[in-house]
Symmetry: C3
Subunit: 134 residues, 3 copies
């Protein structure tokens, strides 16, 4: 079973989608199985991270921005704006797909784990995801 | 089929779990399929890497420690200790889930590939994993 | 269903394999499901990235080469050549497995997404992959 999920982002940063993925699993009544989340973009990515303390999320963003700055003279791919090539690099360093087991009707996330779309572009975007349940 | 696996770590570093994952696949008698390993934490991660030469593993740890040092003034998330925010960042740069095909009752790992839990905190922890076999 | 795929690389860089993976999915006549690609090596890796503009691919390679240079005095694992330990580190920072949903006989890749083998060694290699379709 494949489901589509569109997520609206509002510029660089993490958007938690845990509840939306949970809803899809629940609506299918899946008892045990595997939930695979796939992002159809190369300038945003997926991440499982701590969702309790927002300072942790901010530090992840700031650390990655320092590691992969805009306007690096190394870049030759600059036509799509100064935030585009850093976005591809950040996407390379994180994930395009996540696989999360489902047990007893519940996503097997740890106590502090949340699922996030990581928007790497400065502007707002609609990000398309596919969710596979089996 | 979902299985639980608890791994005891003893501070920063790689703990090989290849044999334990292999045992789970064997005990199910699965001929062909997919084995998905998921770690339920955000300050440790999963890695497939060379398991022949321990110097390679040590270099991976040391390189990551230099890239993501403790006590970086960038961090605002410091309440859980100086090793906590670096642990989240290292976890972001590696993996939360791994999917390994199973063929003819055997995990399709390459000759030198091992599966590791990468502990990023300084202290010992019990890390909980879920293994999905299908 | 498990398939084998061998890819010949010609030194450092990205080798697009999108069409070859697509062919495998098409030849199985799979309508809806999940395609998992697994690389059986630790000095190369897998990546989903923009496949439209070759400058983006070149920047990804150059950026990673600068982050993970050869002959770093940190390395103790040097017996297999100056490009070996950087290859393991680059592999750690990218992916060993990718999971891509299949919908209506089609891999659910975004418009600009391609699947790549990322060769991290300087020499040419034959890289072995396993593809699981379910």
């Amino acid at each position: 079973m494949i489901e589509s999920l569109n997520i609206r982002t509002s510029g660089q940063g993490l958007v938690e989608i845990t509840d939306r993925v949970r809803d899809r699993v629940a609506s299918r009544g899946m008892r045990d199985g595997l939930c695979t989340v796939f992002l159809q973009h190369t300038s945003a990515s997926l991440l499982i991270q701590e969702n309790a303390d927002p300072t942790a999320q901010r530090d992840l963003e700031n650390w990655l921005n320092r590691l992969v700055p805009e306007n690096d003279p190394l870049y030759s791919h600059t036509l799509e704006g100064p935030d585009d090539m850093p976005a591809h690099i950040k996407s390379m360093l994180t994930a395009s797909s996540l696989a999360i087991p489902v047990e007893n009707f519940t996503l097997c996330l740890g106590t502090w784990q949340g699922i996030f779309v990581f928007e790497h572009r400065r502007g707002a975007h609609t990000r398309r995801l596919k969710i596979h349940l089996s």
